[in-house]
Assembly symmetry: C2
Homo-oligomer: 179 residues x 2
């Protein structure tokens, strides 16, 4: 299938380091031109489903402004400029929980919005995790670290307790991977 | 956990019917005020994993500007103003494929961005689908309707051929539901 041509791209909002908006003038394969295609740029991020050495899953119960309440969440955070996704995943795991993991599995990278881009989500499963330090997270949100058994993780997913798209995806793909 | 207070919200970009941006002044439980919290408003949407009467799965191979190439995709689209998610799912299925389905299962609704909102994704599994009309979609993108066996769907998911976050989520959750 033929790709669309981006004839022009212009930043129309530079809000802060978390959000920039572009206007794209795009041309479709049939020649049609759309002169106001919205393109959103937010930071790429990682989410990591973490299984400890004794088979428990590390999660947070966390307040999120986007949810307007609390949700279960896997480990995660934004990539630093120039940072590789796997390095970001290991950094976030250490910062948020003080854990490191021996085995890492790539669950894929996915575009957040198929039309407007927004960001790329890099998802991982980390196994054989053990604590080597105290957490040192500087997140704004209140959060509580909890440990779930495999059965509890399955039930929390089914009960829709992971309320953010990247998080439910990471958990569903990790459980598929674990079989 | 205490919720953040939104002290002020103001539209700072009204790009078109697909994108509006707000600035929020928010107050954290510890009293800290953040005066430039980005809030993105894009249309809520549905994605539907559709299984036909004879056990095949309806998918599209589709060009998407956000991907910059082609991806496998389930049925999906934006909610019309005031439209219920299930009604939108049935409408999109009929418009895009000419099919209707007897059995519908709610796979949950998820916030696209836990910080900035963006939209809510409503995910469904539809079973016992059969064709009752010709497709009447008016999507801008080139797309090809394809039928996958259960095994082919599992393999396409594992091969990361669903490249958009909402799509991979819908497929992973539907396959979990089908067991």
């Amino acid at each position: 299938m033929k790709t669309w041509k981006t004839l022009e791209r212009k930043t129309i909002l530079n809000h802060n380091k978390f959000l920039r908006v572009e206007n794209h003038v795009v041309q479709l394969p049939n020649g049609q031109i759309i002169d106001d295609w919205s393109w959103v740029v937010t930071p790429d991020y990682v989410n990591v489903v973490v299984e400890t050495e004794d088979g428990r899953f590390l999660c947070f119960r966390q307040y999120k402004h986007g949810v307007g309440g609390t949700s279960l969440a896997p480990v995660g955070g934004h990539l630093e400029p120039g940072e590789e996704p796997l390095a970001a995943a290991k950094r976030e795991l250490l910062e948020e929980t003080g854990y490191e993991a021996e085995e890492w599995f790539d669950l894929g990278s996915y575009v957040v919005d198929g039309n407007r881009g927004c960001a790329t989500a890099y998802l991982f499963l980390a196994r054989q995790a053990s604590q080597i330090a105290e957490p040192a997270a500087d997140d704004l949100e209140e959060q509580e670290l909890i440990f779930l058994s495999r059965d509890e993780l399955e039930k929390a997913l089914a009960a829709k307790e992971f309320k953010v798209l990247g998080w439910v995806t990471a958990v569903a793909l990790a459980l598929r991977y674990l079989g």
